[in-house]
Point group: C2
């Protein structure tokens, strides 16, 4: 008998969703980066949960402190994409047998670092025994209906922008997992992007305050996937004419004979924001991000036809709806 095809992450989420009674008038659509529950007229509780799993999310070379911090940061990134400040963090911790006191201390310190870096506090949690290390993080924050940046809302003619350059984590992972080579200085930057990811929370809240943004998503599943998700939820398309390649990633691609566009579009765990901006408010958006200490790079524009097209080296190509797949050791 043939083996049944393994279910993908998004397929599993869709199957689960189909079994559920739906909360009436959900303030944020299912499938957006975070969830919400109305507290009172206009006021929302914002909630997010995601787990980090040892065998797929902790590459060789990442310490327990870094892994624990990352478990928080990857959740903060989803709040950042909505322009929302996380306030409280809960952690459900599955530990393999044989963890020492020092290991657990390291995890505690990493969790705290991830929360405090973004102005949140860890206020509770629980622990149990698992085969893999599992760090399930939940965030809570407050927001107002109509003031969050959602995945839906992009309009043809809007500008598309990102808060940082791509390809770094993809290259960094290849260095850590497959021992690919590059000069030491370049290597360090690329590896650091994997081990010490940063969420664009200041950029996200600053952008949200401008009213310039029509849609937003984080790029943890890769730039191509993020664009396709916004395309689906906003019923638009994208024309990308400026590919945001990080220079170190480009150097890495060159040295290892890799395709720069592939590295930039289909890598993952790159916690940048991908936003669409009203053209008339572009300068306002850019200034807000710069004032927050970040950068906003224009990469193209929103189109009416639901597909993603890239113009690169003078040629046009269709960007596939292909996401980053977690590695398994």
């Amino acid at each position: 008998m043939p083996m049944p095809r393994a279910l993908g992450e998004r397929e599993i989420i869709e199957i689960i969703w189909k079994q559920l009674d739906k909360m009436p008038k959900m303030p944020i659509a299912f499938g957006d980066d975070i969830s919400a529950c109305q507290i009172e007229s206009g006021k929302l509780a914002l909630l997010k949960t995601d787990m980090l799993v040892g065998k797929t999310d902790i590459p060789r070379g990442m310490s327990l402190w870094q892994a624990a911090r990352k478990a928080v940061v990857m959740n903060v990134s989803d709040f950042a994409a909505k322009g929302a400040q996380p306030r409280a963090v809960l952690v459900s911790l599955g530990l393999p047998r044989g963890m020492t006191r020092k290991d657990v201390e390291e995890i505690g310190k990493g969790l705290d670092a991830g929360a405090r870096e973004y102005g949140a506090y860890i206020i509770g949690g629980d622990t149990g025994e698992t085969s893999d290390l599992v760090i399930s993080v939940s965030l809570f924050g407050l927001g107002r209906r109509g003031e969050l940046m959602l995945r839906s809302g992009a309009k043809p003619g809007d500008l598309v922008a990102v808060t940082g350059l791509f390809g770094k984590t993809s290259a960094g992972l290849k260095i850590l997992l497959h021992h690919m080579k590059v000069e030491t200085a370049v290597r360090e930057r690329l590896v650091e992007s994997v081990l010490l990811p940063r969420a664009r929370l200041k950029e996200g809240t600053a952008l949200c305050g401008t009213g310039a943004v029509t849609s937003s998503i984080d790029s943890s599943d890769g730039l191509a996937w993020s664009l396709h998700e916004v395309a689906k939820m906003s019923r638009v398309g994208f024309f990308i004419d400026h590919i945001p390649v990080d220079e170190n990633a480009a150097r890495f691609a060159e040295m290892n004979g890799l395709d720069v566009a592939e590295l930039t579009l289909y890598g993952g765990e790159e916690y940048e924001l991908v936003v669409t901006v009203r053209p008339a408010l572009w300068m306002k958006a850019q200034e807000a991000v710069e004032k927050a200490g970040g950068c906003l790079f224009g990469i193209g524009r929103v189109t009416g036809e639901q597909k993603v097209v890239l113009r690169f080296n003078g040629e046009e190509q269709v960007v596939e709806a292909r996401g980053y797949e977690h590695f398994a050791i």
Copy 2:
């Protein structure tokens, strides 16, 4: 070299807690059944997270539907103990490779059943690949400062009560795991208590409304453990003169030559509430629970000396601070 002693669940939580920056003015002390974060003057966001892990929390004979439902119910029980209504549920799901569409559907239906039974909705979540099945559930609800039942607050002279009888799940687990014997009718009830646990949410919210309760905890780690936790956080002791044994559990103990007190005090995953009640308001508390469709059984009283004493069969014995340990297959 001798193997280092394995860290216990509570030890791990304490080590983590020591590494954390503390949120100023936490409305609910760390270590209570749930956590809270102030929204505005007096108004609290209530939060809870706990994970169910295949190898320690899903006994043989429990279906995926039942396991998923239980993952929600065990979290609802902690809300029940505080007298709080959960409103929204998030689920972080770790699935072993090889799960079929039917398996995932069953999990989705079980999660939904657990939430809807208690008036909550599942509004979001995420999934990843793990070696064990891991179902990490987070609950959100609203409450008001000063209106929740905490673990602290019991006063000498208060009455101690429970919302149900004990020993059932402990006996049920022995039947499922060790094939211990008992008559079919008795067996069914004992096994059902393991496979279909119920949270005392109606009882908890009814009790909370009376103002009669001075402290409250759920009994998921066993009756003895719960009493010791309240003793620690309220700086009191207990004198238990009526041991709340379920009749089916008593029959099971008799048939298998087991100690009834042991079964009642140190079993776990029995989601009853253990509360202390102002003596002058006892009738009010009892009536409120009965009106909600439940029962309140007096089992003893609060004392000034921080220890737990049981009078059983005419003899007094000290109840140990021993909790339920999760089984491992």
